[in-house]
Symmetry: C2
């Protein structure tokens, strides 16, 4: 089973041919030069996004062209960093070790603004849903939000979250702009510019088989998934995610950590696939479904923390606190729902390709 | 399909023979005399429980022998009332119409004390679960509650609910004692005493086939189930039950009504089965599972209302209100989980016996 995603796809979507193909050795295995090509392409994309971001002025709010550019910048930074990690033995060790934390710092800094904005949107959406002012998706009761349908508590909770998360987003925006003007960033950008033309492969790495390292990344993912409580997650309404919903420690929940870890390992596995089979369309429904579930898991977990943390604001009205309590529990149930969705997505393929 | 529960069981549990059998006509159909026998037996049971309740003094708290007697009294009152309803055309109309509301009043009055006590237990149990002070059942983490593990908010919410529901229970206990001493109750008890020896069947009802009326009760159940949103309920984590979790009207939710109605119709169907096949063990797993799910649905819905209503107590601390919000959402998710469980139980048999 560990090999299934490492072999080239036997049938692509509707018979379309791969759009590109990686350098192969005589036996048909993807080799180090494919990694170099991938890194060059991602570095080029990074520089293009950076140029675009500067031209659009990096407007606050995370939307529009500037938001697209920032997203694309993060996207290539993550892919470069992930590939350096997975294929570490094939790259110049010193250079690789210097580069990775810098890329992580950059994509982390750039991600924050968008995250706050998405979190606010998620929480306000949930408040409206919980107030019955919007229909649930796909149930024929959808309609435009009815203004004025919120209770005093829900409206005040929304205003409080809006205030807190907008402030956090504004600060993240300033921090991102500051980062992009810093000498630390310029050093990263210079390194990426070098990478775009000259990938520092280790000696003889250009002809090395990439598959063992990609397989190791997949094994790390498989091991981490095996350690997840998937039997519990597969039983709907297991009430596991809210088990510490009222415990004294309302910071990030320890039970979430292993799921977040799988999310990162799944991403590394996906990037390794992009390196090995660059022309392949992202057709693996299992990975896509599992990845989406884990993103939802992360988003809901962070939104639940934001609701709990807003409830600790001094001098709020009981009705506001009550609404935030309902909202926190709702988001923790989203966490549980996301785990169920992951279990279903993961299980599905395991049955189909034994 | 409508007939499946009306035919005698082809195979009982492990080959055990029915403990009793109902009067049948020449073609083997249960007849009106079976109804008379059932009503006499229930009336006798009612009188026995009443005697036991008086002897044990009707102590408050709903526990012990007195609680058993009250439960047994309600149990037979419900069965008499349900049978009068289902088999109305076979009974003296005037008598039947007089009797039913009186039995409903009695079992309602007697049920309240137990309901408040069970609701408090459910809510305090949930508060402990949500505080991570007890393990979830069946997950190997169960253990004794750890005292002092509650947050201030959860502890205060628990104390508030304890105060409010204990007061309500005490009042319900007094009301029940008062009811049992009232002339209205003595009139009911007299009627039941008459019923224990002489069932007022309509002319020629003694030999009438009971099955058409039992089938009609089953059809009413089937129709009500068909009207339930079972497709939505069968999709785990559909987020439907909490859709009005924060709406201005926090009284009983209209979306619950049709489920409560099915619960009552399921009970009538079950009692009709007891009349027709008195010796049959209660082996129909589908009906048992579905009935349990609907009881859980009702209990969770009422507990959610109690949490929301406690949150409207004036001058509570925000932390208390927050905990009550989490608790309300938790119980509404229990409502959703119960609907899912009902859908699963109902679906199961429908597949097994097409």
């Amino acid at each position: 089973m560990a090999q299934q995603h490492l072999d080239p796809p036997t049938g692509s979507v509707a018979g379309t041919a791969p759009r590109a193909s990686a350098p192969l050795d005589e036996g048909g295995a993807p080799i180090g030069d494919a990694l170099a090509g991938y890194l060059r392409a991602q570095a080029t994309e990074f520089l293009r996004s950076l140029r675009q971001h500067r031209e659009t002025g990096g407007a606050a709010g995370g939307g529009g062209e500037s938001g697209d550019a920032a997203r694309s910048l993060r996207r290539s930074a993550r892919r470069i960093s992930g590939s350096l990690h997975t294929f570490r033995p094939l790259l110049d060790a010193d250079w690789s070790e210097r580069m990775r934390p810098e890329l992580a710092w950059l994509s982390g800094t750039l991600a924050r603004e968008h995250a706050y904005s998405a979190r606010l949107e998620r929480l306000l959406g949930a408040l409206n849903r919980l107030s019955g002012t919007v229909g649930l998706p796909g149930q024929g009761t959808a309609g435009p939000p009815k203004p004025g349908g919120l209770t005093v508590g829900a409206a005040k909770a929304g205003a409080l979250l809006d205030r807190q998360l907008t402030l956090a987003r504004t600060r993240a925006h300033s921090a991102a702009l500051q980062a992009l003007g810093s000498s630390r960033f310029h050093a990263v950008a210079d390194s990426v510019a070098v990478l775009a033309s000259e990938v520092p492969l280790a000696p003889a790495a250009g002809t090395a088989d990439l598959r063992p390292l990609a397989a190791a990344a997949q094994d790390r993912l498989a091991d981490a998934v095996t350690a997840l409580p998937l039997v519990v997650a597969g039983r709907p309404y297991n009430a596991e995610a809210l088990v510490h919903g009222l415990s004294a420690d309302t910071a990030a929940q320890p039970q979430d950590t292993s799921w977040h870890q799988v999310r990162l390992l799944l991403r590394l596995h996906r990037y390794a696939g992009e390196v090995l089979y660059p022309g392949e369309c992202p057709v693996d429904a299992r990975l896509l479904g599992a990845g989406k579930a884990l993103n939802r898991h992360r988003d809901a977990a962070e939104a639940a923390v934001a609701a709990a943390s807003a409830a600790r604001t001094p001098r709020i009205a009981p009705a506001t606190a009550y609404a935030l309590g309902v909202l926190h529990a709702d988001q923790r149930h989203e966490v549980e729902a996301a785990r169920f969705a992951f279990q279903q997505a993961w299980q599905k393929e395991a049955v189909r390709t034994p």
